[in-house]
Subunit: 427 residues, 2 copies
């Protein structure tokens, strides 16, 4: 920021962090993009850009991104060369996004043997087990049920694994790789409580088995209390039918719970009196603690934040004004506060939060920052309305066993060198 | 709804309209989808559906809808066979969507000579005219400016034209054709006030000329007051870079104003002391009144609602339970109330509104309805927090001149015949 009014800027923490009022102070020259001497005549008529001189592309039925943004893709995480092409994950490229919503084409993927090609005319949802009346509901019938809409995140419990207790040192990779197994959609569907009420849950019912119609019949155990609280059979994602990678024609939505439980391609819910201990919840998705014990059912995703810009894979473009921005979310409730530091945690300032802050919905946080070119370390720390505070990686890593990789919601930091290089460092 | 508990249902208006508590009453059999006698063994192993017996599709960089939803497309409105392929509009298929957000591929289009293929590396935004310091800002520089995020609708002022004073009788067409020149996105970008402050608006400045970089240099006049209030240079749409059809790499966003003013492919803002009276605001987009006068600058889109289901192009699937649902929005503020009628306006019941209701952001409304198979007329009527109420088509049509087609926010009705046929009728 080159400005004659620089001394008027409200400094709110060390190393150039500015208050939100800096956004709207008069007389600030953010980037000094002067057009002095530019005549508009030099940009019109023959001098106009080429796309103003020829008819543009026709209307079309279903739009696609600009060819100039084709690098904005999900990145595949398939570390084993011999892995089946449908097994693994792909991450949302957080480094190229802004706002809160994830566009449907970029929602992260996690599948265990590929995306099934389900014919909705043949797909049925069964509800059975400890119920008075088993139900078999076709997709078309389910479309007639009452619906609700809510915006919330889905996060794979393995999100943050590259900074977890698997790693010996910080890995240098895009922010999407580090935190992009988290995506946000506006979901619309049928309250699960309504279907369970219709089936009539019997005495002794305490758990559900939810099973997908994918080739591995992915299945997890879910407490009935969650099902009756805010669970949904999601049919629409950001307005349109749920995408194949996210469970078309229907998926289970469990706001705030780990992604793996929100069973995609949902075909069956069995009401039971105890957990089923499926292969998917015993072979994976358990939390191994430093004391040798394990948490088998650790469902709720912790309070977390991540700075998505400035961040890898990019580098700084010289001294001056930057907006530090990122996402913060909590499976426990609503994010109420995000602190940002530009000096590695020595001092902190409250970032501006996008509104409204909704339960289990991320907020976008923003802090204006004046980078003077000196070495800096950027960090963010989120708080939620249930009193949870994001912890440092140092604290997180001693809580869990060596090799543990799930539920890493610790603070991650970006170190910025004088030459503008950005590096992932541990907090 | 076949139910032994039918007499417990809360009737809130005539002809079967139910209260929202009907959504969550215990013991209701919505569609009677009994699975009695179905053994789960008959759906597993060899009897499992074919997509559980073969590996699914691989992970991919940018997802697409299911092939089974390929009919969910924008529909082209190009009534003149000789029209240039890039001139006209395409509508959001509201009949197949739910929730509030419009997925980016289905946001309505309106272009006057096609979608320009803009190279973002060459695109520049000029701010000139009555300013202290003209600005020339590259796309990459603009990406470094402070950003804000808001969810709001954009509506073409021609939305509803098929039911406007052009028509002699109600036209039978999908609800997307009738109301789908309105779409909703989460928009993120740079506050225009910040750029105008940087340029330094001079005394006497009262209007802006905003011009697009499309082949027709689409341009409109905008009051400075709106620009300083809540206008945005939008760079992101539902998280990702703005789509080509919506103005890539940048568009003007004027929450609540008619869509045509929210200039796409924005290249120039000239600060002026009076309106420029461009061809786009004098040849079109004026409101002709019944008394022979015209409103030249009628910017704000009125309070409006539309029932998107049950609606054309579909028909009823027999007696029983239906959710009456649709969208309501207002360019004046937030929608606070939507009434629904199932008896052609004789009686009304308040619909349930999705929360939160944000200014210039649509709400989804929902009312449970028990259709007994008798002829019915469904209507909705929206109210906003500024005291505006949606008017009948009869009242609207006498306000405006014959042939007038803009700003039709009147109530539209769906008549349902005993055989399940749905027809557009006038209110």
């Amino acid at each position: 920021m080159k400005s004659t009014t620089e001394n008027k800027l409200e400094k709110v923490a060390g190393n150039g962090l500015l208050g939100r009022r800096a956004f709207f102070q008069k007389g600030i020259v953010w980037l000094g993009a002067s057009a002095a001497g530019v005549s508009m005549a030099a940009t019109t008529g023959d001098a106009a850009p080429p796309w103003m001189k020829t008819p543009g592309a026709p209307l079309r039925g279903y739009g696609q991104p600009s060819p100039h943004t084709e690098a904005t893709q999900r990145q595949l995480l398939q570390p084993y060369g011999t892995m089946a092409p449908g097994s693994g994950a792909s991450v949302t490229p957080l480094q190229d996004l802004n706002g809160i919503i994830t566009p449907n084409g970029l929602h992260f993927e996690r599948s265990h043997n590929g995306v099934p090609a389900i014919d909705p005319e043949q797909h049925e949802l069964f509800i059975h087990g400890l119920v008075g009346q088993p139900l078999k509901i076709s997709y078309n019938d389910l479309l007639r049920y009452p619906t609700v809409t809510r915006t919330c995140f889905i996060e794979c419990s393995g999100n943050g694994l590259f900074n977890a207790n698997l790693a010996d040192e910080p890995m240098q990779m895009p922010v999407g790789h580090l935190h992009g197994l988290m995506s946000t959609s506006e979901w619309t569907g049928v309250p699960l409580s309504l279907l369970l009420d219709e089936a009539g849950i019997e005495a002794g019912a305490a758990w559900l088995l939810a099973e997908g119609a994918d080739p591995v019949a992915m299945s997890r155990s879910i407490p009935v209390s969650k099902a009756m609280d805010d669970a949904m059979i999601a049919l629409y994602q950001n307005g349109e039918p749920v995408r194949p990678e996210q469970g078309y024609p229907m998926r289970l939505l469990l706001p705030g719970f780990e992604g793996n439980m929100q069973v995609k391609w949902l075909r069956r819910i069995k009401v039971t009196d105890r957990p089923t201990y499926t292969k998917d919840e015993t072979s994976k998705y358990s939390d191994h603690l430093a004391d040798g014990s394990s948490n088998l059912f650790s469902f709720t995703m912790g309070v977390k934040s991540a700075i998505t810009r400035p961040a890898l894979p990019y580098r700084m473009q010289g001294k001056g004004f930057y907006e530090i921005t990122g996402l913060a979310w909590s499976g426990h409730g609503a994010v109420t506060r995000v602190e940002v530091s530009a000096d590695g945690g020595t001092s902190w300032a409250d970032a501006e939060l996008s509104s409204p802050a909704l339960s289990m919905s991320p907020v976008r946080f923003r802090s204006p920052w004046q980078w003077d070119g000196s070495p800096s370390v950027l960090m963010s720390r989120a708080h939620d309305n249930k009193g949870n505070v994001q912890m440092s990686r140092a604290d997180w890593s001693v809580k869990y066993a060596a090799g543990h990789l799930y539920h890493n919601n610790s603070i991650q930091a970006w170190a910025i060198a004088t030459d503008g290089e950005i590096k992932n460092v541990w907090s």
